[in-house]
């Protein structure tokens, strides 16, 4: 490791497309010798919740980037269809799944922090979270971590 550099990423979204960027950046930073931290909060907690971690979805509503009229996204089954489509494309281009990204990040030493206020709000306990989670922290610990971070991102 050259000099100690730290990246801290707030993961606030639980949709499939928004789950990738934090892992891409954190795993790459860790591979480059950086200290990498992921702080999961609000819907981002879905990424590290056992029951949801491998079932994240792509939301077609409010997503003008999809190749269909936005209003169709409201129809039943459209979320599942959009999710299936993007997962198929990802598989074709050898893109790792979110559970695989979690495993790789962990192996590289990326730290996983869960947000306690969100847990209180949604009634989650530590047992509901994937075992990769390092600790449960609040905003004060986050601020303390960010104090020494070279880069802090909110995704």
């Amino acid at each position: 490791m050259s000099e100690e550099k730290k990246v801290l990423i707030v993961c606030s979204k639980g949709t499939l497309d928004m789950a990738y960027p934090p892992f891409m950046i954190a795993t790459t930073a860790a591979a480059m010798g950086w200290d990498a931290h992921l702080y999961f909060t609000f819907w981002g907690m879905d990424i590290i919740t056992k029951k949801k971690s491998d079932k994240l979805k792509l939301a077609p509503v409010g997503n003008p980037s999809l190749p269909m009229p936005n209003i169709l996204g409201m129809l039943p089954g459209m979320t599942a269809m959009a999710t299936k489509m993007i997962k198929g494309k990802m598989k074709k281009s050898n893109m790792p799944s979110i559970p695989e990204m979690i495993k790789t990040a962990k192996e590289l030493g990326v730290k996983f922090h869960a947000c306690t206020p969100t847990m209180q709000l949604t009634g989650l306990t530590k047992e509901d979270l994937i075992p990769e989670v390092d600790d449960l922290i609040g905003a004060a610990t986050f601020v303390d971590l960010s104090k020494e971070a070279t880069v802090t991102l909110f995704i």
Binding site: M1, S2, M24, T28, A30, A31, M32, W34, T104
Partner: protein
Amino acid sequence: MSETKPDATVDVRGLFCPIPIVKLSEAIKNYPTGTVLEVIATDPGTLTDIPAWAKTSGNQVLKTEREGTVMKFHVKKVK
């Protein structure tokens, strides 16, 4: 610079960001300082990503070659 023969190869053809960098950083851990690894990739992003990784992790890119869609790098473990 004289031609250095690589000690081992990391084949990341068909894999995209961030996997080539992850695989390279994992592979290089298994070798002693001074080892030269050859990296074979097809992700065009590696052309800038591997030098950026080397710069930050304190390693050295000795050679970059591009033959069509295939990129070849010689990376020396410095640290």
